[in-house]
């Protein structure tokens, strides 16, 4: 029977990136995916004729440009379009509009607070400085701080140098940053509530933390460290939906001779002695390979498709205790027309970018309280985007769809398992909230896809529906991701690797985890590196 050089379990965008780089280096690579479609959480599907949703992730900023360029993803059909403008609503419908032009943005801030309008300059400069530092680590393997190998020492020195270039005062600030709450961080700059909440919301996206919880300020940074064509903090849409990213990577992979098998869920990773030798599929097929790479999250990899007895002691417990709490829902809504939101000028540039129903800091905190008690938020934070207002390929002309990301929604409810009825209630809660800011919204609805963490786990296999494949808290970041001692993509058994968002640099559509893992695998297989280094605008 044929033995592959590498098998990648899961055709998420990171699995595909990993596969592409291994194939580019000349290896014989197979990707096996349980679903009949590829992409994992970077996926676009037509669930209602004429409408294509980005079913999970919906906007793009973390994607490593060096990878886009190196794999020539544009030629494979990928185009990332930045979108402009966003509107933040408080509980009673007051708005804060993020205009694209600096002058208009400034005047809008000033309308709310003269102090904050001026303070925004310092805020942006500080945030950019932190973001620049973090960005440099994304396409690099974290060093092992306990090792004395040359590579690790070299990497530690690189980091130290980047760090010291900040200046002494900033270093203290920076370290504090990882433990602060989003609100604590923002208090240093702003006085106006609406301005604070408009920034704080980035600190809770996808995480089981509240705006007042320590650690949420890093999450905020995680959402502004990306860029679109060098504009740090900007977000873009993939033409054709987020699945276009996965499709382009898959196409690049196939152009290097790679093979993808869908409907091919892995039941078990095959282990002989202390070595991984292949996979057994759910249909009973066994496939062998020199290395096996898991695109699944750490918890799933070690507790579901591996046997506890095959693992060295300790790992199983680490995986079991890996923090991977589901906290987000996604409601995709097909609309018969462009919705008209209250209290915004009819300005084509601002009312179709992001719609942020943040309410107030208190509202967001109460939304979190619901989650803690095992309920979905009755007044959730909704981040809406209308991709069809920018992308002509995802809805019929004149028709639209709205992507709504919801915080919070638990994976497990206090009152028993998720049912269809409860899911519909969740969807209704979201629609009701949107309709508060958009009279007539309900009449426009053509179709809806409501996804709680339960659906996200069922379909994509993200444990508990955690969007990042594991919380982005300091204990699970950088050389601690997924577990201390295992941050270099090699897992405790020989020939086994991980390449999903459970590894550094974590969640988001970045391709970085997959590419970093490929670099390590190629070292072990003694192949020349095929993974590019990151290039920066902000060198």
């Amino acid at each position: 029977m044929k033995r592959y050089d590498a098998i990648i379990i899961g055709a998420g965008h990171n699995g595909l990136t990993n596969a592409a780089y291994l194939a580019k280096a000349g290896l014989d690579v197979l990707v096996v995916e349980k679903n009949d479609y590829i992409g994992g959480a970077a996926v676009s599907r037509e669930l209602h004729e004429g409408w294509t949703y980005s079913n999970c992730s919906y906007v793009c900023s973390l994607m490593r440009q060096a990878i886009h360029r190196d794999l020539d993803l544009s030629r494979h059909g990928l185009i990332l379009v930045p979108y402009l403008g966003s509107v933040n609503y408080d509980d009673v419908g007051n708005t804060l509009i993020a205009y694209n032009s600096e002058e208009a943005a400034y005047l809008e801030l000033k309308r709310h607070s003269k102090h904050d309008a001026d303070s925004m300059f310092r805020f942006q400069a500080d945030l950019t400085r932190y973001a620049r530092l973090i960005r440099k680590t994304l396409l690099r393997t974290p060093p092992d701080p306990t090792s004395f190998r040359r590579r690790d020492i070299h990497e530690l020195l690189f980091l130290a140098k980047q760090f010291w270039s900040l200046g002494e005062k900033e270093i203290y600030e920076y370290v504090r940053f990882f433990t602060l709450s989003a609100v604590d961080f923002l208090e240093d700059y702003f006085e106006n509530e609406l301005i604070k909440q408009s920034k704080a919301s980035s600190g809770i996206i996808g995480t089981a933390l509240g705006v007042y919880s320590p650690g949420s300020s890093y999450i905020l940074l995680h959402h502004v460290m990306g860029d679109v064509d060098g504009s740090i903090g900007a977000w873009g849409l993939a033409r054709g939906g987020m699945g276009a990213i996965s499709k382009a990577i898959a196409s690049a992979f196939q152009s290097f001779g790679g093979e993808i098998r869908t409907n091919a869920g892995v039941e078990q990773i095959l282990v002989e002695g202390n070595k991984v030798v292949g996979v057994a599929l759910e249909n009973g097929d066994e496939i062998r390979a020199r290395v096996v790479v898991s695109n699944l999250d750490a918890k799933r990899t070690f507790t579901q498709i591996m046997d506890e007895k095959d693992l060295p002691p300790g790992i199983y417990d680490k995986a079991k205790n890996f923090k991977i709490r589901g906290s987000s829902g996604k409601v995709n809504i097909a609309l018969s027309a462009l919705p008209k939101f209250s209290n915004v000028p009819d300005n084509a540039y601002v009312n179709r970018g992001g719609l942020e129903l943040t309410g107030s800091l208190e509202t967001m905190e109460r939304a979190y309280d619901c989650w803690k008690r095992g309920r979905f938020s009755d007044d959730p934070y909704v981040e809406g985007v209308i991709p069809s207002a920018w992308d002509p390929t995802v809805a019929p002309p004149g028709k639209h769809w709205m992507s709504n990301f919801i915080q919070y929604c638990p994976a497990e409810l206090a009152d028993g398992p998720w049912t269809e009825e409860k899911r519909n209630l969740f969807g209704q809660t979201v629609v009701d909230k949107i309709a508060r800011y958009c009279p007539g919204f309900k009449d426009l609805i053509v179709h809806m896809e409501v996804r709680t963490p339960h659906e996200i786990e069922e379909e994509i296999g993200l444990t508990e529906g955690n969007i990042f494949q594991g919380e982005l808290t300091i204990d699970q970041l950088f050389f601690n991701r997924p577990f201390p001692g295992y941050a270099q993509y090699r897992m405790p058994l020989k020939h086994m690797y991980m390449c999903g968002s459970s590894t550094h640099p974590g969640g988001g559509v970045s391709s970085a985890c997959g590419a970093n893992a490929a670099r390590e695998i190629l070292i072990d297989l003694k192949r020349p590196n095929s993974v590019p280094v990151d290039d920066f605008y902000d060198e």
Binding site: L84, T393, P397, F536
Partner: protein, 397 residues
């Protein structure tokens, strides 16, 4: 109120000015051939992306439009430009360049053939004097400058065909690249050519200037749900560079305006040798170009993909990393958002094309000047050239 009268100094309004004024919300104007002309309307990158993702319109009223008619029209044009004009079929457009006797490029443009004795020459700079000179010796010929009488706009981008379809232009999707088609518009004749300067699917629309605003409104009504937006000079410059098209003032210095010896260019230097047809009878610059072809051009315009992402605008090029031997210069350079590459057009001494090419790039960071040396790779295809640009029938997006 002052008593001054500046009217003779102000740029004159385009036929579409009324509508463009409403949409140019930052008042970012410059001028082209005396017409008021948008640098951009809302945001350069946004407009650029409209053309790559949905569609955009570009005001080409200031472009020069000469109607050349009469039994000698074809012969005259054939003697003037380097391409074989007799091969152009009726209702087809053709990209052409014309040169002085030394074979140096005067300008480029398009010739539209509307009939055996009816042609239109469209070009960026006024060239009445040169046309008159070129018509010397021909008798049955009339040259009519219609620039001010015609309103014209480019409609470019993947949804451009869908916009025209929804305007009711029947069968427009089957119009081939470089075809010219006619439609009735409010009882007047609307000419639509499948041409453009963006390297994407696109058209140019031409109509009597009295119908400029109705045409604009019809196009914008049809485009409302198809992402239509005007774009200005800056986005055009990005789009044409991705498509690998040359621009006066960047890649070439118009020969008739050139002071310094050989600071103008030849078609061979501009990598436009395919436009020079030695099989046809005599044309302007033929002898010089023939000699140059034999000899090989001193410089060759080259497409470069440059490592890193600092645009190489204004860079010198070298044959080695230490930058000891200069071999050329960058004419246009930018980061391409669609191709995700650091692209440039560059004039490089032909004999160095086989070797390494390094670019010394200058850039500024918070008031401090920096430079870096980056490796360049030659590209033979346009940086942006999706299949939809050439596909017939044209797609809806």
């Amino acid at each position: 109120m002052s008593d001054y009268d500046f009217s003779s100094e102000r740029p004159k309004p385009s036929h579409f000015q009324q509508r463009q004024d409403e949409l140019n919300i930052h008042d970012a104007w410059s001028s082209w051939n005396g017409y008021k002309f948008a640098e951009y309307f809302y945001d350069v990158e946004f407009e650029y992306f409209c053309v790559r993702n949905t569609c955009g319109t570009y005001d080409i009223c200031p472009m020069q439009k000469y109607h050349i008619t009469g039994a000698d029209a074809e012969k005259m044009l054939d003697r003037m430009v380097t391409r074989d004009v007799t091969k152009i079929r009726t209702n087809r457009a053709s990209y052409v360049v014309w040169c002085n006797d030394e074979g140096r490029l005067i300008d480029d443009g398009t010739i539209f053939k509307l009939g055996d004795d009816h042609f239109i020459l469209n070009c960026g700079s006024p060239c009445s004097a040169w046309l008159d000179k070129s018509a010397f010796g021909f008798h049955d010929i009339t040259i009519d400058d219609k620039t001010d009488d015609v309103a014209a706009m480019a409609l470019q981008g993947p949804t451009s065909c869908a916009v025209l379809k929804s305007m009711g232009l029947e069968n427009i999707e089957s119009a081939k690249p470089f075809s010219i088609n006619f439609f009735d518009f409010q009882n007047a004749r609307l000419m639509v050519s499948r041409t453009g300067f963006t390297g994407d699917l696109g058209y140019e629309l031409w109509i009597d200037h009295n119908l400029a605003i109705p045409l604009w409104d019809a196009v914008y009504k049809a485009g409302h749900d198809l992402g239509i937006h005007p774009y200005g000079d800056q986005a055009t410059n990005m789009l044409r560079l991705e498509a690998g098209f040359i621009m006066p003032g960047y890649e070439f210095n118009e020969a008739l305006k050139t002071v310094h010896f050989e600071h103008d260019q030849t078609p061979f230097e501009l990598n436009l040798g395919w436009l020079v047809d030695f099989k046809k009878p005599h044309f302007n610059g033929r002898r010089a170009l023939f000699d140059e072809k034999k000899r090989g051009p001193r410089y060759t315009l080259t497409k470069l993909d440059i490592e890193g992402n600092k645009p190489a605008e204004g860079s010198f090029l070298y044959s080695n990393k230490r930058c000891t031997e200069e071999i050329g210069y960058v004419t246009s350079g930018m980061w391409s958002p669609a191709a995700k590459a650091n692209i440039a057009l560059a004039m490089i001494e032909t004999k160095y094309l086989e070797g390494e090419i390094w670019s010394e790039i200058y850039y500024e960071k918070e008031l401090r000047q920096y430079s870096k040396v980056a490796r360049c790779t030659i590209k033979h295809e346009p940086f942006w050239s999706p299949a939809r640009t050439r596909a017939t029938p044209a797609a809806d997006f």
